[in-house]
């Protein structure tokens, strides 16, 4: 499998060879920053089109068809429109917090994106508590939502923000517990080590029953974490018009919009990392020929394909299910999901302790 660190090391050596080390690090940081933001935008645009096309097919429609072939350029037109729209400032809002909120949200999701392993050696932030760091950063996003809802000085946004606070804090528990089951199995929180631990066989197969339960819990909790249907209560458009971002316009609204789509990719990416081997190809122990063929497919393709597949499932949820109500949402989490996740963690620990894993 191609090791991308060959390129990064070559680039690093090239820079160090002609300038002091601090300058080289600075240039690398800038290059990486630009690359991350570019990836972020391109992915977000792709996801908007992906969801629009998918939902159109679910609904016996064609989706965007007019701009570009099969409507491929529609998202660029939409983004361009959002960029040139006026930022409306409202009376009675807390101006500073109102403007700060979208940046908090977008920052948290960009940092999470930077943690994902795209391929062998193709990862930006990698250290020993990687997955823990991702979870910690994801919690910052809810702060942005709360601030947005509160600072808008609007009753709908406030209700949306309160719902979102209750929802995200609740579902973070089962999300964390589901991931914890896998950490128990892997014995590491380092993202790179997590991927390598799945060299022989993915965690969802290694951990069999508890891992599959953890996977289901994770996908449900992740849907709730990203405020997507059937858990899209914070922005329940039929009740609260647009929930916490009702009052935003222009690129500030665009930030919420992009972050929402990117968070979908990020939770799918984490699912692919924790359960489906990240960029690791499908390896079946003993089938060496098959494994060698699988290795020919680049890691980045594996990673994206897995992430897009999980996103597809989550999008499928959204366009099939009706929305739950806030009391049902919380009851579901605290009465069913969290006890299940806890019991599953114990089950996983037992399996690992007695060596009942593959």
């Amino acid at each position: 499998m191609f090791d991308f660190s060959i390129i990064t090391n070559w680039f690093n050596n090239l820079l160090i060879g002609c300038m002091p080390e601090w300058a080289a690090v600075l240039i690398e940081c800038v290059v990486i920053g630009v690359l991350v933001l570019l990836t972020y935008t391109v992915l977000a645009l792709f996801y908007i089109l992906y969801e629009r096309k998918l939902c159109a097919w679910f609904q016996c429609r064609l989706g965007p068809m007019r701009v570009g072939p099969w409507g491929l350029l529609q998202v660029f037109a939409d983004m361009f429109k959002i960029l040139i729209k006026e930022l409306i400032s409202l009376k009675g809002t807390d101006k500073f917090l109102f403007k700060l909120a979208p940046y908090i949200i977008i920052t948290s999701s960009v940092v999470m994106l930077a943690c994902l392993p795209w391929g062998r050696g193709l990862q930006i932030i990698d250290y020993n508590i990687g997955i823990f760091f991702v979870l910690a950063v994801s919690s910052v996003g809810v702060l942005g939502i709360l601030l947005a809802g509160w600072s808008s000085n609007n009753k709908y946004t406030l209700i949306g923000a309160m719902r979102s606070g209750a929802q995200m804090i609740s579902y973070e528990l089962s999300l964390g517990l589901a991931l914890m089951s896998i950490i128990v199995l892997a014995g590491t929180m380092n993202i790179n080590d997590l991927v390598w631990a799945q060299d022989k066989c993915w965690f969802i197969f290694q951990g069999h029953i508890p891992a599959i339960i953890a996977f289901i819990i994770y996908v449900i909790a992740a849907t709730a974490e990203t405020n997507r249907g059937p858990f899209d209560l914070p922005e329940a458009e039929h009740e609260l018009t647009a929930g916490y971002h009702t009052e935003y316009s222009g690129i500030h609204f665009g930030f919420f919009y992009l972050a929402e789509y990117l968070n979908l990719f990020i939770v799918s990416g984490i699912a692919s990392l924790m359960f489906l081997g990240g960029w690791m190809p499908l390896h079946i122990p003993g089938w060496d020929g098959f494994n060698a063929v699988m290795n020919w497919i680049p890691g980045i393709v594996w990673f994206l394909a897995k992430a897009f597949f999980i996103s597809y499932v989550i999008i499928w949820f959204k366009w099939t299910f009706p929305r739950v109500r806030i009391d049902q949402l919380l009851a579901f989490e605290w009465k069913y999901m969290m006890p299940f996740a806890l019991a599953n963690l114990v089950l996983m620990a037992v399996c690992v302790a007695f060596g009942l894993t593959f």
Partner: protein, 542 residues
């Protein structure tokens, strides 16, 4: 026991006028005791207040009440109460006997300025609080300078007034507030994605739980009843398509029936069958829309498209025969506007063939979904007693197990020669109302299947004089529209314009139960309840 004898025994001061149904003329002072007897006396037992029609007879102002007795074979009587004081007309309210009168009397107050004594909340229903004059009075000054287009917010929108009568018979004005001082009031509408139009609710919340809902209506009121008074009969037909646009055929059918009844026109068989079929197609279209909107209000957008996919077939049928997909303008006095399109039979057959399979698909994608069931079941309970008391007819009333189908109770057009079941559900909640609609689609298909091969040949309309004039008198006709019993009251003085037209729309009663059904539920349930009651705003704001 004869109703007439019983009434004259209870209240000797009444006089009677015979007409299509018995008219009881009662002096204002005796009205409330008589009303109490009419409702509570088991020999009379008029438990449904079907219509409240404000009237201005120039020398007096008053109200005509239409009462129906569900226990006595849906017999209907009307009661006329009039007062001569034009400056400060007052009539006793019956809103404590029939809850439906609450909003109906507010409408009469709004348009005629008749104050109802002991009414709990005597605000205007449709017009702004600062409106000068009462538009449906015959001496109303329509000078636009009196009521310029307002550019500022409405003042005192939270204030209400009551006229309370003490033991000595003195009436006193008592002012109050709609909401309490520290209520957290959320405004839902008039521009909101799921109020299904320009409707406004003010809901006071405790957390997410609704404490009270105040309905603010009138944002798209067009004054159709006032407009009718200055137009000829063939001209006023067009308004009916624009009230409940999802019951366009039925509404217009009702008005035509009322005029035909007054003129004694016999509608040809072919036209009767065509009207029946169009009514049922309209009902299918309306219930499919309702299915789609209920699903969408609950967040299931895909189901919405499924509903619209089949509705498209119905609209295509309308387009071919009537030339329009909305506001069809198809029924005319004496029959229908145009003959059926050659494809009509083929298209209807295709529709009724495809529907059972598609209904199964709807149930798979939405009805059977556990989230949908949890959202609908037990939400918005409306007991049978309340449904009768608030006169909630149509699928919403039948979801409370109240058998009230006009097509069965007073068959009209071709309904007496087709077999169909009146769909009833016992759940009394939003799910029951939803299920009634879904099952009514099957029944409508059944009616269509019986008629589609048996459309008689012949004229599509009767010979009608060029200038339509009704004899002096008054008439009331009812049909089963998609959302309940739609009634038309016409009073004529013999000229070619009606003296008074009143449209008794089912949706107006539906918003009357919003407060009752929503209280104690969550804000998300308000949307569910509204979707399951399925009101159409132009039908409320006529």
């Amino acid at each position: 026991m004869n109703v007439k004898e019983t009434i004259s025994r209870i209240c000797p001061s009444v006089s009677f006028e015979e007409g299509e149904c018995l008219l009881v003329v009662v002096p204002e002072t005796d009205w409330y005791p008589l009303a109490k007897q009419l409702k509570e006396n088991p020999d009379l037992d008029f438990d449904v207040l079907s219509a409240v029609v404000g009237m201005d007879w120039k020398d007096s102002l008053g109200v005509v009440y239409y009462l129906t007795s569900t226990s006595h074979n849906w017999e209907m009587i009307s009661v006329k109460v009039a007062v001569t004081d034009r400056e400060n007309p007052m009539i006793h309210s019956v809103s404590d006997l029939w809850k439906v009168a609450n909003f109906q009397e507010r409408e009469v107050f709004d348009f005629y300025g008749i104050k109802f004594i002991n009414h709990p909340d005597m605000r205007r229903m449709f017009l702004r609080n600062d409106w000068k004059g009462f538009p449906l009075r015959k001496d109303y000054d329509a000078n636009p300078a009196l009521n310029p287009i307002p550019v500022d917010d409405e003042k005192h929108e939270d204030e209400t007034v009551k006229y309370v009568e003490d033991a000595d018979g003195n009436v006193k004005e008592v002012r109050g507030k709609v909401f309490e001082e520290n209520d957290y009031v959320v405004n839902i509408g008039p521009q909101h994605p799921s109020t299904h139009g320009v409707m406004r609710f003010r809901a006071s919340l405790d957390g997410e739980v609704i404490k009270k809902v105040d309905v603010v209506s009138g944002y798209i009121h067009r004054g159709i009843e006032k407009l009718c008074e200055s137009l000829g009969y063939p001209q006023i037909l067009h308004f009916t398509d624009r009230m409940d646009y999802m019951s366009a055929h039925q509404n217009r059918h009702c008005l035509c029936m009322c005029i035909e009844k007054a003129m004694g026109i016999v509608v040809p068989e072919r036209a009767q069958v065509i009207r029946t079929m169009m009514d049922e197609l309209m009902r299918i279209s309306s219930h499919l829309l309702s299915f789609g909107c209920t699903a969408m209000d609950l967040g299931a957008t895909t189901a919405f498209f499924y509903g619209f996919r089949e509705r498209e077939m119905v609209l295509d049928i309308f387009e071919k025969t009537c030339g329009a997909r909305m506001s069809m303008n198809y029924n005319v006095i004496g029959g229908v506007m145009a003959d059926l399109h050659p494809d009509f039979v083929k298209d209807v057959k295709a529709l009724i063939e495809i529907m059972p399979e598609r209904l199964k698909e709807y149930h798979t994608v939405f009805t059977g979904n556990i989230i949908a069931q949890n959202r609908l079941k037990g939400v918005g309970m409306l007991s049978k007693e309340d449904a009768i008391n608030y006169d909630i007819t149509g699928p919403s009333g039948r979801g409370s197990n109240w058998s009230n189908d006009c097509r069965k109770k007073h068959p009209y057009a071709a309904y007496d020669r087709v077999e169909f079941d009146e769909v009833l559900e016992t759940g009394c909640d939003s799910f029951a109302r939803y299920m009634v609609r879904m099952r009514e689609i099957e029944q409508s298909c059944r009616i269509l299947a019986q008629l589609v091969d048996n459309i008689p040949e012949g004229d599509i309309r009767a010979q009608v004089p060029k200038v339509v004039k009704l004899p002096a008198g008054h008439w009331y006709a009812q049909v089963e529209a998609s959302r309940g019993t739609f009634g038309v009251y016409i009073e004529s003085d013999g000229s070619k314009n009606p003296y008074r037209v009143h449209f008794q729309s089912p949706c107006f009663n539906l918003i009357g139960v919003m407060d009752l059904t929503c209280t104690g539920h969550m804000i998300a349930d308000l949307i569910t309840i509204g979707a399951a009651l399925d009101f159409v705003i132009p039908d409320i704001d006529r």
